[in-house]
Symmetry: C2
């Protein structure tokens, strides 16, 4: 398991808020795009409750010239992601040294995060969503096909579909309740109107770095070099639209109205200490076909990330009640590793581009405390969720806010988080 | 039906090859991006067997200043498409006048098309593929569900799914046979290897012009203002990959390896004379829900475009045998109009971007002469197609080339075509 000085839990920063920060201690150093007050979007690194302005850092010439030239300055990180692990790793090490308590403080390079606006960290050329959370697939399958919850292909092939790239928004952008065609089983014909079954889905996002040319698959042993980082992803879903539209070509308008992501790119380097073996499979499960099989990936391809979901209703907000935890899961429950998803995606020659985003699919835990969606939590709207206010929910209501949280834990290492992935639901416009 | 002087069949050009040209008479004037020999990509207009160089035209100041300032100069047409019908229409009228036989010739503004390279006319931010060809849906449904070929939602909702934008290529780019997981019904488990069921799909592409903000649907009466033009589209499909992967989330790697389009944007203005009423529905068919219903769209929303498919094998090529016609269909067979597809797409608030591409879905004719795919033509590989050489095909072989052709016809008007949409199949790389 590759670790280096940047992971040392004894490492402290001269910035007090970084030390013991739940998301952004000096051991994390995620990349993003932000605007300081009255200024244009630019790259930054989150540290404690501040953001390191990479444009100011570059101008300061504090780093050695060879490293300084690697600093991204463009208002999207696509070109930086395209360059792969080497410049990212070198810059990370230099910034870790710069921000360490043993170095002279440079507060003039920082902005308070609360004064800044966060943007998508990259232009997203293509977005693909997978279905690799097997406990979600099982739970949803049990609701609709109790006798055969998993389809025959599930354990052979990473199931995925193309998602809508244009409607991905960073944490904090409100979600407008979508309208669409809905038909309940007992209804004679569909009607058009606002969804009555708005749901969240707890997912991890995977940022693509270096591209592959059309027609050239990425081998499983090389896949990690094409992954530039991770984020949280809420795949908002309108279940009534989905059940009416999805046959035979899959989800479309039930998903394309909005997708929320956490805006910081958590690097593979920051997550290196939290890698672990893929969960062991049932003895009756098939072995992965050779193009998806790699001993190194099997040994280290999974991520130990605690994933949580919180719900905050309008009433809770006005009563100052804290967001209510409704789900606790873990990214290691994925049936396929991020590397397997990427390799499968390119196995037909499909070309990935820098800044492409892959969603893992909903990551539910195998027990009742970890449903990755309300569909599972309320058993398809048959068992309500009851909140501390006494309010009940089958699906989400206007004024509700969903917050996702990811935290990497491992004894002997400093925990790191992903930052905010939250969005408030606004009423339908029509 | 809006027609103007640009449609006058008596209009001739001072460029002899434009007169009676099967695709690009002076009545067409499609926009595209091309490179002259040893030069960078730039906008152009196809005329006869030449291309009008818009960069040279702008520098010549031959057009009135107000029109000259509308000429696109960027190496993609996205910004031009975003501006909607007005600048496009004004420039079209001015170029029609410039190229007319009654005006002085300016051959210095033209390049021979055969010396130029054609590119995608715009960066394609998102690609969506629909399923609006009802005779295709019926024919495919009959193969797999003889008792109920159409699913219950088909006549209510335009079925669609997100496609892969990054692998769309202009006519002439070879298609590499993709590999993937394939499992025949009698096989115990899947294997990985080159597809054994490579197919074409005959579709029309729809270019999006002005965008809509996220959360703001485009009303059906406004939809035509957001359509910037049309192209031919071959939605290459690996049927064995598709049948194994597509449940429950739809087609993915079976389609994402390559999509071929004709590179000229045929404008709504050029196609105006060829509009006609939507085909009448069965009395038992549902009326479109109000958000998809518009009297004007019903009266003029369909396009009378003859669509043809030709197959040219390696053996035919070496024997100098002409491409063999295997399909004749028509765009008026679509169950939903392009405007209905666009309005449905945005009905949940999904934002379309300039340069987005919508595929209509495979446009088969209702009879045996018009199958829009080999799946239909060979009845799922049970009845071979026999070619003039005696060769037989169930699906496509390496060295085969598929050519699509579209021609707009109407008595009293000059026919216009879409230009080449062809691609040769190269062997798998792995």
């Amino acid at each position: 398991m590759p670790t280096d000085q940047t992971h040392n839990p004894a490492l402290q920063s001269w910035l007090p808020s970084a030390n013991a920060h739940p998301s952004f201690p000096i051991q994390n150093l995620p990349f993003g795009i932000f605007s300081p007050p009255n200024a244009t979007p630019r790259p930054g690194i989150a540290i404690g409750d501040h953001i390191l302005d990479l444009t100011l850092l570059q101008a300061s010439n504090l780093l050695p010239a060879a490293i300084n030239s690697l600093i991204p300055l463009a208002p999207t990180l696509n070109d930086f992601l395209a360059q792969g692990p080497t410049p990212r790793t070198l810059l990370r090490q230099a910034v870790s040294h710069l921000l360490a308590a043993s170095s002279p403080p440079h507060p003039e390079l920082l902005h308070p995060a609360t004064a800044c606006t966060l943007h998508l960290p990259a232009h997203i050329p293509n977005y693909t969503d997978f279905y690799a959370g097997i406990h979600h697939a099982l739970a949803v399958g049990r609701l609709f096909r109790p006798d055969a919850p998993l389809l025959p292909n599930y354990k052979w092939i990473p199931i995925g579909y193309h998602g809508r790239a244009s409607s991905i928004r960073p944490s904090g952008t409100p979600v407008t309740r979508p309208a669409g065609q809905r038909k309940l089983p007992h209804e004679q014909q569909p009607t058009f109107g606002p969804t009555r079954a708005l749901d969240f889905e707890l997912e991890l996002g995977i940022w693509i770095g270096p591209p592959n040319p059309l027609g050239r698959p990425i081998l499983i042993a090389e896949a990690h070099n094409h992954i530039a980082g991770f984020c949280l992803l809420n795949d908002w879903s309108a279940r009534d639209l989905q059940s009416w539209e999805y046959q035979p070509l899959g989800p479309f308008l039930a998903k394309s109205f909005h997708t929320t992501i956490s805006p910081w790119i958590i690097t593979p380097e920051a997550l290196a200490p939290f890698r672990q073996p893929q969960p062991s499979r049932d003895p009756t499960d098939p072995q992965p076909l050779p193009y998806l099989a790699d001993p190194e990936d099997q040994a280290t391809g999974a991520l130990n990330l605690i994933l949580e979901v919180f719900l905050l209703t309008h009433s809770m907000r006005t009563q100052n009640i804290a967001p209510y935890p409704i789900t606790q899961s873990n990214a290691h429950h994925l049936y396929w590793t991020p590397q397997q998803l990427l390799t499968h995606h390119t196995s037909n020659g499909c070309n990935l581009l820098p800044g492409d985003l892959l969603g893992t699919g909903t990551i539910s835990a195998p027990n009742a405390t970890g449903p990755g969606s309300l569909l599972e939590l309320t058993q398809a709207a048959t068992q309500p969720l009851t909140l501390p206010t006494g309010e009940q929910r089958f699906y989400l209501e206007d004024g509700d806010e969903i917050l996702l949280r990811a935290t990497a834990h491992r004894p002997g290492f400093t925990p790191i988080g992903f930052g905010d992935c939250r969005a408030l639901i606004h009423p339908a416009q029509n």
